[in-house]
Structures are given as C-alpha cells and as structure tokens.
Amino acid sequence: MNSDSNSGASLNQGASVKNKLKMLLRLHKLEAKRGINEILDNPFSNFMTVLVIAIALALPAGLQILLDNGKSLSQSWDGASRISLYLKLDLEATQIEQVTSQVRQNLAIESVELIMPAQALNDFAERSGFADAISELDSNPLPATLIVQPKSTHSSPQASEILLAEFKQLEGVEKVQLDLDWVRKLYALLQLAEKAASALGLALGLAVLLIVGNTIRLSVQNRREEIEVVKLVGATDAFIRRPFLYTGFWYGFFAGTLCWIILEASLIWLQQPVANLAGLYQSEYSVNGLNLSQSAKLLLFSCGLGLLGSWLSVGRHIRQIEPR
C-alpha cells in the first residue's frame, strides 16, 4: 500500500462531492459510448431489433399521418358541404327571387347560384342525350335550384346540419339536400379510424417495450459474469443499470431515426399517385409529411420507449444476479 494511508485500516470515504459529480459525468459519457458499442458490436442482430422496433413505430405513426391528411382533405374540400335547395315547382319568378335573396342574407353563406328551371332542363337535355324526348314535354318538370356554398367556417358537419334545418323552414323550398353527404360519413369514419389508430399505437408501443425489455434481458444474461464481478467489488444496482439504460435509449434513438426514414420514403413513394388522383379532381392536393416538431416528437417518443423498456427490464434481472 502507499505511504499516505496512515494505517491502511481507515474506512473509505470515497471522493468529494464535486469530484463525484465530475466522475459521474465522465461515467455517463463512457457508458453512453459503451451502450452504443454494445449495439455496434453485434450489428446484424441488433439491426434486426432496431428494424422491428422501427416498423412497430412506423405503422401507427404512418396511419396517423394518413388520417391527418384525410382530415385536412375532407375539411379543405370546397364542394364538400355544398347545399342544394330545390324550390317548389309552382313558384313565380319573383317568388324565386325572393327566396334567393333570403338565402343570400344568411351570414354563413359564401355564395349562392341560382339555376332556373329552363336552364336546368337545358343542362339535363345536353348531358343526358334525351334532348328529343325532352322537347316533347309540354311543361318543365324540373324546379328552380339554389346551389349554396357555406363559408368555410360553417362547413363542418354540425354547421351544415344547422344550415340545412334553417333552409328547410324557408317558404317556397321543397327539398334541401347536402351534396356529397359521403364527406360527412368519411369524416365520421376518420374519427373511428383515429380511435383504432390510437389503440394500435398503444398495442405496438407495448410491443416495443417488450422487445426492448427482452433484448436487454438477454444482454444482462450475456453479461452475467461481468455483473457478478462488478457487484463483488461494490457496485450498486444503479451503477450496473446505467449502461443497459443507455443501450435501451440508443435502441430507441436508432429505431426512431429508422422509423422516420421509413415514413418519409413511403410518403415520397405515395407522392406521385396522390398527385395523379388529385389531378382527377382538379385539386393540387399533396400529402403532408412530418414537420420538424412532429419529427422531434417521434424521436423523443421512441427514445423514451427504449429507455422505459430497458428500465422496466433491467432492474429486475440485475437483482436476480448475485455473485457466487
């Protein structure tokens, strides 16, 4: 022993608090590195683990992206909430004018288009190809129609419903119809799908915890001997836990990054078909990917899951290892 230990028999007080903190920082750096090496040392099987986690994350995240897109699509669809007012057949032109101006006064209305019976018949004759048959008719069977476009602030299903009821009350209105009623149904469907996506996310999040936990369990078992030795020389469970927590964190980090790449690649792959489809509807709609804050959230979430998974697993399994 050295000369500065006066008896050699004094109890160890360890280091000062400041030095301990400094050492702790160094240790963390060291163990973060060791945690990465643990993954890089065995690239193939660890890549598989990371890939599985990434896919488990990508499924609910991708679904969420599609739902968000679907929602913004159904909300942004101008024609979505157009309302058709079919007026009574026996109205005079002045009465039709009156109804039209009444509708126009509604503050929730963006625009109103009036289609007179004659014009409606013309359009129909042109489009249907029954022009000859129609010219045989002695009276026009079509009513005057008002095509109402609500303001975008009043185009939600609930607001449309209210408008619909208001228009029904108007004198001279025979029938009111919300065009593209399917949009409303789509909206409801989307909400249902969103619930399903949450459930899927929860289930797959749990799966990620299990995957990480199990991987960490194996790695604890592989290092059983090392853990025994470290315990023998006085390591606390917290000390032993740390590198494993880092490994879990890095799994989450790499998986989150890979998940992001998978999502972006899929979206790029979807871009062209979506543009084609949107073109058919004279729309310039394009799929929205992950913005910066969503990407950060994804990564943070995935790192958190990795950390949590290893934390849940490591304590239990380290406790089971006692030096012999």
Partner: protein, 241 residues
C-alpha cells in the same frame, strides 16, 4: 476487525457448512484459514463479504453487524473489503488498467486520481508495464496479481483471499504471500483461505483449522502439530453427525 459469534450456515439444500463458529481477528492481523475441502473456508469468507447470510449467529465486521445490513447497503460493505479469488474474476474484455480501476470508478473517483492510484497498485504488484494489455495476454501468476491490485486499489482495511495460490507453482505462491505480508505491514487485516499446507508451514502466522464446519484449532503464532493437521485435513469427512 472480524468477529464471529456462534455463527452457523446451512445452505438451502440442507448442507451445514458452518456450525457454531466463534472467532475474532483483530485489526491489522493476518490469519490463515485451512482445512479439508468442504470444511467451510469459502463459506466463512462469503459471510464476511455478504455473498451469503448466516443462518444463525452474528458476523460483525469493523463494528458493523452484518445481520442488520440491508440489501441496498451491501455494496457499501463490499467497498471496504478487498477480495481475491482463486479464479481471479477479471473482466477479459477490458484492459488491465480498467480492471484495476473498477472499484475506483464505482466509488466515483476523479479520473486523475484513478490513474494515480491504479498505477500505484500496479506498480506494487509489479505489473505497471502491462496496464494496456488485456488479462488474456497474461500468465496465471500475473492475472492473480492483477486481481490483487484490484483488491487493494481502493485501500480497504480488510483483504480476503480464497485459495489465492491455488493454481500457482510454489515460487509464484511465495511471491504472492510476500505481497500479502507487505500489505499487512502497513496495517491491512488479511484472512487467507488455503489448503496449501507447505505454504502455511513456512509462514508462521495465526492459522485457523476447520473441519466439517467447525473451527477445530486456533494456532496463534508458531508451528502446529504437522501430523495432527495432516490427519485432520486428509481424512475424508462422512460418518459421525
């Protein structure tokens, strides 16, 4: 330093490894523990470093009753005890330096302090030039000395060694013993389990002889009956009790 009062240890399989052992080893003392294979030497050491718990009786180390030490506090107890094993228990994926540094890292020492202490310990056991090697590149005797450096690097007041020379030839064994004597000279207490009688005969330290879990001789100082010991240690166990 070490106090055993009516200590018994029965393993879960029903094996009685220690039976009513009373023992006191003073601070700064160096003692040997001997006896036939299965006599309970390792068990004794394991109770001291809390690898096992006594079934009954009190083990008191440094004034601390180990019965009262909770699981969480075990690491703190072990930090004050240097342990040396027959199979060295080194980490083969790390350098000699890192192996010896382990107790200091755990205790949270500053890295300059770690460097200083590790080199002092390696110097002491004559392995300063091998700090960058991994243990695999070393001979058995060198590996054991790395184990010793690791045990003393934290300057514990007590060293325990379980068959430290078990795998070594007499010359290397004598070297290791000389190291132990040097630690003892600066005040470290040592308890060394060994069944190597020829080695003990040369040493003239207090020798505790165990037989079937009992302490049957406590030879303070000087030569013990060579013949009696031979009969004790060689005769197979079994029969009575």
């Amino acid at each position: 330093m070490i106090q055993f009062a009516q200590v018994s240890k029965r393993y879960p399989n029903g094996q009685d490894a220690l039976r009513n052992v009373d023992l006191e080893i003073a601070s700064g003392e160096m003692a040997f523990l001997t006896g036939h294979s299965g006599a309970g030497k390792s068990t004794m050491l394991k109770l001291i470093c809390l690898m096992e718990r006594a079934t009954s009786g009190q083990v008191i180390i440094n004034g601390k009753n180990l019965n009262k030490v909770k699981r969480r506090k075990i690491p703190a107890v072990r930090r004050d005890i240097g342990m040396i094993f027959q199979d060295h228990r080194l980490l083969f994926d790390r350098s000699v330096f890192d192996n010896v540094a382990l107790p200091l890292m755990i205790a949270g020492y500053d890295h300059r302090e770690i460097g200083r202490r590790v080199r002092a310990a390696l110097d002491k056991v004559g392995l300063l030039s091998k700090e960058k090697n991994t243990p695999i590149m070393l001979s058995g005797g060198e590996q054991q000395r790395v184990g010793i450096a690791r045990a003393v690097v934290n300057k514990p007041p007590l060293l325990l060694a379980d068959e430290p020379t078990g795998n070594l030839d007499p010359e290397l064994s004598a070297e290791i013993m000389k190291l132990f004597e040097q630690f003892n000279q600066v005040g470290v207490s040592l308890l060394i389990a060994s069944h190597d009688l020829s080695l003990l005969a040369k040493m003239h330290y207090r020798t505790l002889v165990m037989k079937e879990g009992r302490l049957v001789q406590d030879q303070t100082d000087q030569m013990f009956e060579d013949e009696a010991l031979k009969v004790d240690t060689m005769s197979e166990t079994s029969d009575h009790e």
